[in-house]
Point group: C2
């Protein structure tokens, strides 16, 4: 495996919003979550929980309560990434975001497609998702990840912009 | 390239805090930043900037002002990931965290080692780093990433914990 191929895998991760109805297997779900939990976290405190939603009625309900989650009517899987501010109030958003990115990249590795749907810090998204998934009040859903077998394949890309880069000092 | 190897790459990302003094090349720095900017961001707004620090005096100074950055006295490169709340106040932390995780994974792909050093939201870290790197007041450093050729190789791992996983509902 060349270094270039490894890097290209990062470029191949694109937001996929169209899925076939084929299920994501239990083994694949576990690998996605293993990837998520391989993310770094501040002081290795791992302030995260995950709900794997495959129930069709629940997926349809999530599509109703999140304004950009219509693809959950097709997608066979939604992972809800949940943070625990009681474990690390300062860094839980960063840690759960790293876990989310790992899951998106693992999906590419498994031939799946996925898209990150923002939830936190919008109360109008947090509240109905909390209610739908019965998330305890002391925890907060960071995001939803729609996952499935892709019905579209956006080409790899970086969005590298040299004007965003400084050397040694701003 | 098998799916398993791609997934394993995520498990191979471990925090590396010991480096040789060998430089990271300009091409490698650009690839790391291309990986960072390939991350997803909310509404694709890309609320990020990066400073690549290779100047020895600046690296030593950063080691002085961040309590867990002693490895910057050895490391040949520090990337500062900077967010722009003016571009997206709600999601810049999440977006810049995804970019940071991509950089850490790209480092693995290049045979380099790296570690994420938290900065935001601690003012006692933000302020001296802002001053050292002359970061504009409307922006905020999210983190520092120490990068170099690894002088240690922690074994791959996931920290998968099935008690963190729920199915369909909490």
């Amino acid at each position: 495996m060349s270094d270039v191929i490894r890097i290209d895998n990062l470029f191949a991760r694109r937001s996929v919003r169209n899925f076939t109805t084929k299920a994501v297997s239990d083994d694949q779900i576990e690998l996605l979550l293993k990837a998520g939990m391989a993310a770094p976290s501040a002081s290795n405190l791992k302030p995260w929980y995950f709900i794997a939603v495959t129930d069709r009625a629940t997926l349809d309900h999530l599509a109703e309560v999140h304004p950009y989650a219509q693809m959950l009517r097709q997608a066979p899987l939604c992972l809800c990434v949940i943070g625990d501010p009681g474990i690390n109030e300062r860094y839980w958003v960063q840690d759960c975001s790293a876990a989310t990115e790992n899951i998106l990249l693992a999906a590419v590795g498994l031939g799946l497609g996925a898209v990150w749907l923002g939830v936190h810090p919008r109360p109008e998204r947090i509240d109905p998702i909390r209610q739908a998934l019965r998330i305890p009040p002391e925890l907060s859903p960071l995001c939803l990840i729609a996952v499935g077998h892709p019905a579209e394949t956006p080409p790899p890309r970086t969005q590298y912009d040299s004007t965003r880069v400084h050397h040694n000092v701003w």
